[in-house]
């Protein structure tokens, strides 16, 4: 016997039927952090393989969309931008929006895309949608560099509010994880999700202040509008980075509460559905 000593202290694994709501068991998730890392790393390695422009796509996409928005919304429609040059205004909003949209889409399809893993190996299933969300973060960093360059060009400098930016970033990620968990677990059983996703993200885009400022939203709708966590995130980004927008109002609190509710609800719903994944795949 050359078993290592630690093996004798490892606790028994109890396998038994599970029904109803279960504990989150985040310790198990921590045990598998390396797998999380490798899955994110795989995503990044593979994503732009066999493309000519490669990582440049990360920058080209938002820049191009900003260009289109600037022409149509900025010039033709004349959407106000709170005194900020429209391209910076739009790009600054697109940054967290694309992170969110990419993360939600990617996470929602992640379980189905990794069905081989789920039916053949054990690991906490949460790792899969989490890795899908995290891999979008790298794109964000590249695009962020472009934003900084753009701000420098227009002579806009961040104010002291910059220190709140990580908070808003975290909020974007948390709501993406929350929504992603709901949709990914739903997608395993109902593949309708894949087809509704484009609509969901498109609709969500229009109810978020990405291409226009919140000031356009009538006062009486503000509370309802604040229920969308991306409202708080996008406005927060502009406030933290560009400084000139109005500070996120009281409805930021609403956004935070909704985000937390989405995340916790998503986690528990996911854990509840998890036990059936391998059987339904």
């Amino acid at each position: 016997m050359n078993l290592r000593d630690e093996s004798f202290s490892s606790p028994a694994i109890l396998i038994r039927p599970i029904s109803g709501w279960v504990a989150l068991n985040l310790r198990d998730l921590w045990e598998y952090r390396e797998l999380l890392y490798f899955l994110v790393w795989r995503d990044l390695k593979v994503r732009y393989k066999q493309t000519v422009l490669g990582v440049a796509w990360v920058v080209i996409q938002p820049v191009f969309i900003t260009l289109v928005f600037s022409v149509f919304f900025g010039r033709l429609v004349g959407v106000p931008s709170d005194g900020i040059p429209y391209p910076v205004f739009a790009f600054c909003g697109l940054l967290p929006w694309q992170l969110f949209a990419y993360a939600v889409t990617n996470a929602s399809n992640s379980l189905v895309a990794n069905d081989r893993l789920i039916t053949k190996v054990y690991f906490p299933r949460l790792v899969i949608p989490l890795s899908a969300v995290l891999s979008g973060l790298v794109d964000f960093i590249f695009a962020f560099a472009v934003l900084l360059a753009m701000m420098a060009y227009y002579g806009i400098f961040p104010t002291l509010a910059l220190w709140t930016l990580p908070g808003f970033l975290l909020m974007a990620m948390a709501s993406a994880v929350g929504v992603g968990l709901w949709l990914s677990a739903f997608n395993v059983e109902y593949r309708d999700v894949r087809y509704t996703l484009p609509f969901i993200t498109q609709l969500w885009f229009f109810i978020s202040p990405v291409a226009y400022p919140t000031s356009l939203v009538p006062e009486k709708w503000r509370f309802l509008y604040g229920l969308n966590p991306m409202t708080g995130v996008v406005e927060g980004f502009r406030w933290a980075l560009l400084g000139k927008s109005q500070s996120p109002g009281a409805w930021l609190g609403v956004s935070v509460v909704v985000t937390i509710a989405l995340l916790i609800g998503g986690l528990y719903y996911f854990r509840r559905m998890e036990k059936n994944f391998a059987d339904v795949m």
Partner: protein
């Protein structure tokens, strides 16, 4: 700490029929939701839902209990659908049991598929790390074993080539190599030795043997009885989700062989068996009604070398002349190995009056271990009277002690004996 590695009590798993094959669309659920209340209104029987549940579900595993000690290597055998893979999936926590429980004492590693998570775009080196992480290895552990893994897989030269450019054999070798270096205390293995060429298979089997010398507990699912016999001391036999036998490998394998399809019994009623449709009038004037192999009531199993004793019963409906009976032996892959005709031994049967008859036939058993089908036929003059291309199935089992460590079973159909001499020096010098 006890020396128990795995203790399972009444493990059961129920699947909805078709659950594995299809997923639901929202529409189905909505339709069910709409239908259910309607069904409630239309008839008062509340038992509808429970009886339809019983109809549309299947117990893939039912009340399986066992206890395995540390360091034991246990084979799990059974026919397709017996629940082998379901059991491994429960033990490796991929799926949860519907009833019962299991306790596992130690770190579990499962190997239900070779190359899970391999990505074709990534290089061999990258895939080693990725696959290792998926199987539950820490990256430090992979670092430590990296060279060993590469050597074992024999892919040194292609480490930095994307795996999609590998041959399928190379991919398999690399994938198995990563898996083989997994060092859990309890290893669950499903049918993964069936990869690669013969030489590599032998190497894998060698590796597996060393695993159990390290005091590790192994569960090994395989259809390859030779591999099971050479690796496992104990075996669990599953049939239709239930544990039928748990004990020493030899007895278990023998019981399994007895269960094989066709080996269900050594007698077969053939009155109503379907006849080939392309020949007119088969079974009209003369019909095989029963065929029996051997004299025991047990399964149709014959030891290699023991003669096959065949008894047939026929029903004759009209007077027939110059009748000939025929028996053929057909291998599993459809090759007719031999045909015997009654006229060789007893000549043409000049006249057969209406009535019931029995006849016997003793056949020299020259056949290699394996499964065969009996073909029966009868003719008179120019006319086919009856023909059963597939009647009884039987198994010939090897009476010799098993040759260890050879994964490949012997191929070929015959069991004929050859005489061999040991090599003798020719008296020539090398290189001269």
């Amino acid at each position: 700490m006890s020396d128990v590695a795995v203790r399972a009590k009444n493990l059961s798993k129920r699947y909805r029929i078709g659950e594995r094959d299809r997923y639901f669309t929202l529409r189905d659920t909505i339709m069910n939701f709409v239908r259910r209340p309607l069904a409630r209104f239309s008839d008062n029987d509340n038992g509808v839902s429970s009886s339809s549940l019983a109809e549309s579900t299947i117990w893939a595993l039912k009340d399986v209990s066992f206890e395995v000690k540390r360091g034991e290597v246990v084979g799990i055998i059974g026919r397709n659908g017996a629940g082998k893979s379901t059991l491994l999936k429960i033990l490796s926590r991929i799926t949860v049991p519907t009833e019962g429980e299991a306790r596992i004492y130690g770190r579990v590693g499962s190997l239900l598929e070779v190359g899970t998570g391999f990505h074709p775009e990534l290089t061999g080196r990258e895939n080693i790390y990725l696959n290792g992480a998926i199987l539950g290895m820490k990256s430090r552990e992979i670092d430590r074993k990296f060279d060993e893994i590469v050597n074992f897989a024999e892919v040194e030269k292609f480490l930095d080539t994307p795996v999609k450019h590998y041959s399928s054999g190379m991919q398999m070798r690399l994938a198995f190599s990563v898996a083989a270096h997994l060092e859990p205390e309890i290893l669950l293995v499903d049918e993964v030795l069936a990869v690669g060429d013969a030489a590599f298979q032998k190497k894998c089997l060698g590796k597996m043997r060393r695993i159990d010398q390290n005091g590790r507990t192994v569960f090994f699912v395989s259809h390859n009885l030779q591999a099971v016999r050479s690796l496992c001391k104990k075996c669990l036999l599953l049939r239709a989700g239930r544990a039928v036998f748990f004990g020493d490998t030899e007895s278990c394998v023998l019981r399994y062989l007895n269960e094989l399809p066709g080996a269900d019994g050594s007698a077969m009623e053939t009155v109503d068996s379907p006849r080939p449709k392309d020949v007119q009038g088969l079974g009209a004037s003369l019909r095989f009604t029963k065929v029996t192999l051997g004299s025991n009531d047990g399964p149709a199993i014959v030891r290699a070398g023991e003669p096959l004793r065949l008894a047939m019963e026929v029903m004759c409906n009209e007077e027939l002349h110059d009748v000939v009976f025929g028996v053929g032996i057909v291998s599993l892959d459809g090759v007719r190995l031999v045909q015997y005709r009654s006229n060789d031994a007893i000549g043409f049967i000049p006249a057969l009056k209406p009535g019931y008859y029995s006849l016997t036939c003793k056949i020299d058993n020259l056949f290699a271990p394996g499964r065969y089908t009996l073909e029966l036929g009868a003719r008179c003059d120019q006319k086919g009277l009856d023909w059963l291309p597939e009647s009884l199935c039987f198994e010939i089992v090897d009476a010799r002690p098993y040759e260890s460590l050879w994964l490949e079973a012997r191929t070929g159909y015959l069991n004929a004996v050859a005489e061999w001499d040991s090599p003798r020096p020719l008296g020539k010098e090398m290189g001269s």
